[in-house]
């Protein structure tokens, strides 16, 4: 029996990856279908030198991880729709103050309490625009446990590299199902450690003065540099400012640091796209059904392909445009009313070619569901 092969739930794959990436502080509040992440970390973190705390709600959880990140920790919280709603204000604070953190949202059916025990992908737009004000955000997703592992590690790396919250949008289906996970050896996946300032004690440290490469070296709270952190627009010292130039430059910086790197941040997988007449675009659990259809129909000579998105925000529009350019029709497969569909329409720029294959009744979309829509598009009936 190989030691690094596990048969686990998606939530556990996320936990293994977070620990692999160096997670050492987690705060959370129980909510289906994410609770296994908190349960597992309550045991694993103290055993590996980290800390776990169950807070009084999701607002407090989000705030606590931001505080812990400032002292130099890699931090994470995990929740689902209702809790993710509660986290939005503090998430915006992390955006504004540029504090690295990872937020897992195991999506379930909404709005409101919705359908807690069934999967959905209804929070795609909430991840983008859930907190108020102009900003940019990173959101990643995955369709299987190996990818959950890789995307979770990537989320920590991106959080540190760009000093930003990163949202992992998983869903109930992948989070609760069990399948093989091979845990990589240390060193197999690159890990990004926090960039700390080289400015020594007694020299003026400017917490919000970017280096030439645009990165902002951090100084751990409790260390030798004392500085101010605020959710107000702030200058290079972290002090509140209403100076138009300061305000303008900060919002530009917050947006541009991600939006100018859309292609570099774009993670995706492609299957049989070279000669595909019909391109399915999907992500998360829905991509499993889409891939099932593509592989099955390929056996029968049908030219289907799949573009599986792993980076949802910033939306990789150039990638989508390019991959869908030659398709007769593009079918977006997702578990919502068409949240990514709208983005694909904008990216491809030819809305008559774009169709939606979805399910919004709490039932996981089946290959048959997708096939029926494909046949309709092809003019072949169902």
């Amino acid at each position: 029996m190989e030691k690094n092969v596990k048969f686990v739930q998606g939530n556990e794959a996320c936990v293994e990856a977070a620990l692999y990436a160096g997670l050492n502080f987690f705060a959370g509040y129980p909510i289906t279908p994410s609770s296994e992440i908190a349960e597992l970390l309550s045991g694993r973190l103290p055993a590996s030198g980290g800390k776990f705390i169950q807070m009084e709600d999701e607002i407090a959880s989000m705030c606590a991880i931001i505080g812990a990140s400032l002292t130099g920790n890699k931090v994470m919280t995990a929740t689902s729709g209702p809790g993710f709603s509660l986290m939005q204000e503090a998430l915006g604070y992390a955006v504004m103050t540029e504090i690295p953190c990872v937020i897992v949202n195991v999506m379930r059916g909404g709005p409101s309490t919705g359908i807690p025990t069934h999967g959905s992908q209804g929070d795609v737009n909430q991840a983008r625009w859930g907190t108020h004000g102009d900003h940019s955000i990173l959101a990643l997703t995955a369709s299987n446990h190996q990818d959950i592992f890789e995307m979770t590690v990537t989320a920590f790396n991106m959080a540190e590299t760009y000093r930003t919250p990163v949202i992992l949008l998983f869903d109930e289906i992948v989070a609760h199902m069990r399948e093989r996970l091979v845990i990589p050896e240390f060193g197999e996946l690159p890990l990004v450690e926090r960039l700390r300032t080289s400015v020594s004690e007694g020299i003026d440290y400017h917490p919000y003065l970017p280096r030439e490469d645009g990165r902002l070296p951090m100084s751990d709270f409790g260390g030798v540099h004392r500085y101010n952190v605020t959710g107000l627009y702030h200058d290079m010292w972290g002090f509140p400012s209403t100076e138009p130039r300061v305000v303008h430059e900060l919002i530009r910086h917050l947006v541009d640091k991600l939006e100018n790197r859309v292609n570099r941040l774009a993670h995706y997988k492609e299957y049989f796209l070279e000669d595909a007449e019909y391109v399915l675009v999907s992500y998360g659990s829905a991509a499993r059904s889409a891939l099932h259809v593509v592989k099955e129909r390929r056996l029968r000579g049908e030219r289907l392909g799949l573009l599986e998105l792993q980076t949802l925000w910033p939306f990789p529009k150039e990638v989508v445009h390019e991959k869908c350019a030659g398709a007769k029709a593009v079918i977006v497969v997702e578990l919502n009313m068409g949240q990514v569909l709208q983005l694909v329409k904008m990216a491809v720029g030819d809305p008559e070619r774009i169709f939606l294959a979805n399910r919004i009744d709490g039932v996981f979309i089946t290959p048959i569901d997708i096939m029926k829509i494909l046949r309709l598009i092809q003019g072949k009936g169902v």
Binding site: M1, F7, T32, T117, I173, S285, S289, H292
Partner: protein
């Protein structure tokens, strides 16, 4: 190998989900096959109806649910009534005589066994009913080797309870072997 699509159903607390996980884990960890296990969730932790899907194959498994099982286990009457219509024609449907009265119209080979009473008579602990069922399952399907299940049990079960589980597994294997398929 053929692709095994299996559904285990019963009521919460019977250990159906645990049995499904053990089976799928044995396939993946010990036999290096691919397996996906999922379960339907409800708010009730005990007493509600429960269902777990397992797909075992030697190729990649993408769609993780089972629409038409070729092997179906129903350990309660409500589970039987709910799921017998989904079995693939010609598939195998396992029930326990104590809990389920079967119908003739089912287009499948139905195997009714007194698993619960055998466990009570020979072992005396209802807690290993699910492991006996698992023994019958692997005996009827040959989907994984008994040793693989044993290895997983050794990993998962406290030492003091291992023998109990081994007995239940063997009991199931014998009961399955006695069935003429």
């Amino acid at each position: 190998m053929e692709r095994f699509r299996m559904v285990f159903s019963g009521s919460g607390g019977q250990g159906v989900v645990t049995a499904a996980i053990i089976l799928a884990e044995a396939a993946v960890i010990i036999e290096n096959l691919n397996a996906v296990q999922s379960q339907s969730y409800g708010a009730a932790a005990r007493g509600g109806s429960t269902r777990s899907d397992v797909i075992i194959a030697d190729s990649a498994i993408h769609y993780p649910k089972v629409i038409q099982p070729n092997f179906l286990v129903c350990l309660t009457q409500p589970a039987y009534n709910a799921y017998y219509p989904i079995i693939r024609p010609g598939g195998l449907l396992l029930t326990d005589q104590r809990f389920v009265n079967t119908e003739d119209k089912v287009d499948a080979r139905q195997v009714e066994l007194p698993m619960h009473s055998a466990v009570m008579e020979q072992i005396g602990k209802p807690i290993v009913f699910n492991i006996c069922m698992l023994g019958v399952t692997i005996s009827l399907t040959q989907v994984v080797q008994p040793e693989s299940i044993l290895k997983v049990l050794e990993e998962r079960i406290p030492e003091g309870f291992l023998e109990l589980n081994q007995k239940a597994l063997n009991l199931g294997i014998e009961m399955g072997a006695a069935v003429k398929i």
